[in-house]
């Protein structure tokens, strides 16, 4: 039996303040196989994004363990987690999160800055990633000069420039019209089929979820399927 790319084992996430304790996730068990394209659906506030952040090692669970490629990473240090995110995971966010002061090319290079990669090689890889999403012509533009769809394509280029094994997309089409949304989804599908990138996508759109291999449904912090 192959080792799952992502394994969540009995995950619980509780947010605590002085007065209130909010259970965001409870008893989550989930395996995502290598090369799989999984979507996560559910109503607002059901814990989809929290789940994705845990998979992306952007947040730590209150209980349970997370394994990537068979290695438990829950107790890793800040530095080790940073390295794992850098080497293995790419992110695409709903609101793009491009750095406005940097050009498209500089934005795409960001993940490679935290690897020992020379400037020329970085530039070449960033140009290739932009080529992959069809935005080579805009590499010297700034994010504010691009449409929403173009910005999201830049964000995808940034996510794939380091050739991560896992791509996590948190409502990547949420801020786009349906035509743009379809374009973005087809890029993601293409990455999954051609590059065998493991893909997890949070979405509200059942039409898009249908295009993925498997859909995880969430409600009130729990898996319902």
């Amino acid at each position: 039996m192959s080792v799952p790319m992502i394994r969540l084992d009995n995950i619980e996430k509780v947010y605590r303040t002085d007065r209130i304790e909010t259970v965001a996730l409870s008893g989550i068990n989930l395996d995502v196989e290598e090369g799989e394209f999984v979507s996560i659906m559910g109503p607002s506030g059901c814990g989809k994004s929290t789940l994705m952040h845990l998979m992306g090692l952007l947040d730590a669970p209150s209980k349970g363990t997370i394994s990537l490629g068979g290695a438990v990473v829950t107790d890793a240090s800040d530095k080790a987690l940073a390295r794992l995110r850098n080497q293995s995971i790419g992110f695409v966010f709903q609101s793009f999160h491009l750095i406005p002061d940097l050009s498209v090319l500089d934005n795409v290079e960001i993940p490679l800055l935290y690897r020992k990669v020379g400037a020329a090689e970085r530039r070449k890889a960033a140009e290739a990633a932009l080529e992959r999403v069809g935005l080579s012509a805009r590499k010297h533009h700034f994010p504010s000069q691009l449409s929403g769809g173009q910005q999201q394509r830049v964000a995808i280029a940034r996510a794939i420039v380091g050739k991560p094994r896992i791509l996590l997309a948190d409502e990547p089409t949420g801020n786009l019209d349906s035509q743009m949304g379809d374009e973005i989804l087809s890029i993601l599908q293409d990455l999954n089929t051609k590059e065998k990138t493991t893909l997890v996508m949070v979405t509200h759109d059942p039409r898009q979820a249908e295009k993925t291999a498997r859909t995880i449904r969430m409600f009130d912090g729990r898996r319902v399927n």
Partner: protein, 410 residues
């Protein structure tokens, strides 16, 4: 990585014009004041001609006599130096000189005021004057009480215009002196070297000065080697203990030291401690740091309040592999860059301000300038300011959890 940080810093400076202006104004003004202060201190205490042997020259500007009910502080007397402090082992040369006396001359219907110093031939051997004309007076001139004088170039201009002065005579303080040499002007800050007219001590109007333990004289000791300074100081101290002090006084205190040391001793009023120079230097550096604190706190505030604006960037960098340390370095580097830019602006403004100060001729014979040493100090101030104002905001920003910074990824 650093190149990328530099690029980002410069881009942010260019794109956030108001922030850049406010930051640079605060940093630039602070560093301007500090750089100007450093330039003035360097001008006063740096090893410039004629004090090129400052590293092994010890000076005594003031002494203190103490009794049960009385205390007297001021320049030492000729007798103190001549009778008790000559021939200290390790001292190559010793010079005794008066504090500058303001004398008046009437010359071709003009009133000329000059600072006159009476001294000996070793004065010109310890100090490294570049003679524009003639030569210094010698031991024979001093021993015979000849009325000869070395004057500075401003005095030459006042008395003789553009003509040569050597061989000509002039009158000062009711005495007539023949010029034997002309030297460049020395700023009045240089307590030992500055003066308009230098004449042999033996031309004094009376011999009374020879009997005084405390009055009107300073001394310079050229030590053979820097390593001997401490032993010279100890011998000096031992000899002071043997001085026969005037009635009402029990002891006399003084320490031969660098010009800055002498200055510190007078400023701090401390005639006993071994090392007042480091104390004054610490005080000055503390004042410099305190002076930087307020604008630094302002910049800290500005930086922290900008954290929200840059939260998304922090989140993205964390998500794509930056560790907290990477971010700490990035933000610190950015702050140091803006501080260094502020420092460069401050240096340019300081150079202009010093140019104006020199033109205004507020300080006689002073020629303030920015040199490599001042630029180094300016750079050090800028770095200190950058780290001081950048560390805390950088640390706070770097500690943001990725998910907090991304605001739930929205």
């Amino acid at each position: 990585m650093l190149g990328n940080y530099l690029k980002l810093s410069l881009k942010i400076l260019g794109r956030r014009k108001f922030f850049t202006f406010v930051s640079l104004f605060g940093i630039g003004f602070t560093l301007l004041v500090l750089t100007l202060s450093a330039a003035v201190l360097d001008h006063i205490f740096g090893a410039y001609p004629p004090e090129t042997r400052a590293d092994r020259t010890l000076s005594v500007y003031a002494v203190r006599m103490e009794g049960d009910d009385s205390q007297s502080t001021g320049p030492g007397g000729f007798k103190l130096y001549d009778q008790y402090l000559r021939d200290i082992p390790g001292v190559e040369r010793m010079s005794v000189l008066t504090t500058p006396q303001h004398v008046v001359s009437y010359w071709n219907g003009t009133r000329i005021q000059s600072a006159l110093k009476r001294t000996d031939a070793d004065f010109f051997r310890i100090l490294d004057f570049r003679f524009l004309e003639g030569e210094p007076f010698g031991d024979a001139d001093v021993n015979d009480g000849r009325f000869v004088a070395v004057i500075n170039e401003s005095t030459r201009r006042k008395f003789f215009g553009k003509a040569q002065a050597v061989g000509k005579s002039f009158e000062a303080d009711g005495q007539t002196f023949k010029v034997v040499g002309v030297v460049p002007d020395v700023p009045i800050f240089r307590l030992m070297a500055s003066g308009d007219i230098y004449v042999p001590v033996t031309t004094a109007k009376s011999d009374e000065y020879r009997q005084r333990i405390r009055s009107g004289f300073m001394a310079m000791f050229l030590v053979k080697d820097r390593s001997l300074i401490e032993s010279v100081q100890q011998e000096f101290k031992a000899r002071l203990a043997r001085v026969e002090v005037p009635p009402n006084f029990k002891r006399i205190l003084a320490v031969p030291e660098s010009v800055f040391g002498t200055f510190s001793r007078v400023i701090l009023g401390d005639f006993e401690s071994e090392d007042t120079a480091s104390r004054l230097l610490s005080i000055l550096l503390t004042m410099a740091v305190l002076f930087m604190v307020l604008p630094a706190v302002n910049l800290v505030n500005l930086n922290v309040s900008r954290a929200l604006e840059r939260a998304s960037e922090i989140g993205v960098r964390r998500a794509f592999g930056a560790s907290a340390r990477d971010l700490l370095l990035q933000f610190l580097f950015e702050n140091v860059i803006i501080s260094v830019v502020g420092g460069v602006l401050a240096l340019i403004m300081a150079a202009l301000a010093l140019f104006a100060l020199n033109r205004a001729d507020l300080v006689p014979y002073a020629h303030f300038a920015i040199n490599f040493r001042i630029a180094a100090w300016g750079f050090a101030f800028a770095l200190t300011f950058g780290v001081l104002s950048g560390l805390w905001p950088a640390w706070r920003l770097s500690r943001l959890k990725p998910i907090q910074a991304l605001g739930g990824s929205r």
